[in-house]
Symmetry: C2
Subunit: 346 residues, 2 copies
């Protein structure tokens, strides 16, 4: 490929302008100097309209997620790493090994190129760490005031790694409900930045790629029935969804829920419930009760699952209620939020 004349971008002080999205020289400059060095791999470097990839052996899985998190940077990550993790996790919870990512960027005119470079590098680092390349992409620019810095949509393709069927409709009364780690760290990290709280030690997002952890779990417990990552709406929304898909109820044990003290304190302060806070590096697993200990042990053996816990069970309940036995011995409903308490968490 012959290089197009390509004067250096001012990555320290420059800003995104409308020409960076217009399909001409400026767009190529941005691709060549900012995107390709951070994300580079043979597919992306071909410079065609898409990526031509090897044949995949097995049933395909496809998932997509738009990321609009605000602020763009937070303790434990940024919109770039989050966009990699979020979509890889959606592929992984389908029981698939993620193979490839596509990424599209909507940039707001005026975004500092230094911020964009940091985000794209973080995205490249996360993709490399996960072993899943960003093979194709697209960039658009909109006028100042028509977006909010940057939005990133990632789409993942993977292959099913086993014959097993996992799905939200498979939970059965008596099954165990397991979570791979502490609840709400991501949501609390975002909120603490938004609220400008000066914490002694910042709350760090749990954002992480879970496909390794999930592969370990499925190897140990191939009879796992449901996997899902409790992102928007937190564990409460995720369990309510599954309850309705499967036509069952659930009963959680409050004393068993892993919540970091700092997250619990923040929730107390802001009048929130950790059950409604998004996680970005946790997975809910539902499996036969007799496999619960094996599942928890498999999760705890992985660095991303050290705080895994058996938190409740599936119940026969045609109303599909998710309930919780409280520490005080009472019982309360775990509803999903009707409203918008936590916008733009991911």
């Amino acid at each position: 490929m012959h290089r197009i004349p390509n004067p250096p971008l001012d990555l320290a002080h420059g800003r995104v302008d409308m020409s960076h999205g217009a399909g001409g020289r400026a767009m190529h400059q941005l691709l060549q100097q900012l995107f390709l060095p951070a994300l580079g791999n043979p597919w992306l470097l071909q410079g065609d309209d898409g990526a031509r990839l090897p044949e995949a052996n097995g049933r395909l899985v496809m998932a997509t997620d738009a990321h609009v998190v605000s602020p763009l940077f937070f303790p434990g990550g940024d919109i770039g790493s989050l966009a990699v993790h979020g979509t890889l996790n959606d592929v992984a919870v389908m029981g698939a090994r993620p193979l490839y990512l596509a990424a599209s960027f909507v940039l707001e005119e005026g975004l500092p190129l230094a911020d964009l470079a940091r985000i794209v590098r973080s995205m490249g680092d996360a993709a490399k760490a996960a072993g899943v390349p960003v093979v194709t992409g697209d960039t658009k620019v909109v006028e100042r005031g028509k977006a909010d810095g940057v939005f990133i949509t990632t789409t993942g393709v993977g292959v099913m790694t086993g014959p097993l069927y996992l799905g939200g409709a498979n939970a059965q009364p008596g099954d165990a409900v397991i979570i791979s780690g502490t609840l709400g760290d991501h949501g609390a990290a975002i909120l603490s930045v938004r609220e400008g709280l000066a914490l002694d030690s910042p709350i760090v997002s749990d954002s992480a790629a879970l496909h390794g952890l999930i592969a370990d779990l499925l190897a140990a417990v191939p009879t796992t029935r449901v996997l899902r990552d409790p992102t928007r709406g937190g564990l409460a929304a995720t369990l309510n969804e599954i309850a309705h898909q499967s036509g069952v109820g659930m009963v959680l044990d409050e004393a068993a829920l892993p919540v970091r003290p700092a997250v619990a304190a923040l929730c107390e302060l802001l009048g929130l419930d950790p059950l409604n806070l998004a996680c970005e590096g946790r997975v809910v697993a539902i499996c036969p009760a007799e496999e619960a200990d094996t599942a928890v042990a498999a999760l705890r053996a992985h660095p991303l699952g050290r705080d895994a816990a058996h938190i409740g069970s599936v119940a026969a309940d045609a109303r599909c209620f998710v309930q919780m036995r409280t520490r005080l011995g009472g019982q309360r409903m775990v509803d999903w939020l009707a409203g918008d308490a936590l916008p733009r968490i991911c």
Copy 2:
């Protein structure tokens, strides 16, 4: 699947609010009542975090595009149909048959639900007409003033349908340059709406799914070397890109360029060149010169290729210049635009 209680949305007068993106009941209401009826297919209806698809036999192709076109509705289409066509075409020009689409929506608070419903129906209709289902999706909502109505990213997956290698780096001196139809209709349609021009007969976007047309072309001329859809930046940017990828020059024949009189008149009025206007339903093909007539005939035999023309040839030129023989017998450079004359055209 047990239905979640789901009071009817006010699709006539309602507006998108922040709760529609929060992962709770309101989001499910929007999915169940607006997205699923328009896009519905067995994969989407599973309601999981991704789609589990059959095994694909052949090398995979993946392409993604963010769509930020303004205005959202224009003669010949809207952001919904455009988002289907744009990505299907990116898959098709790689020499692949598109199989599946994923779609992510970033919605601005306050967007009329009627507009969203119209866009999503248009998307569903375009996907159905193309025979490529939207198998998975995502919806986020951002505050008023933080987006511009709706942005849609679509990602396509396809399989290579032949052994052939198509790519921007394959043009060879002597090859023929062919376009499947008139230039700039899409760009001109958008501009005429933006400028509020009252035309006797509106200029209609060429937005269309090209995979059928391209399959016919490749069946007739399997030695085709390069395919690309001249979207942002128009034919000028596309040919300059290919020239640099292949390390060749090109010479176009102005008299051979198919341009509708209304588009030519609009360009004259606004001081633009049809070569810089985006097409969304055209493909540039580069093939051996001796196959040019066969290629043009194959294109013209398809409803979407009736105005196909042999418009120039590839030349040996280490400077990678794209030039044009003018109607008056002169020669001029066909450069790509440095700037942002035509933002948000797709």
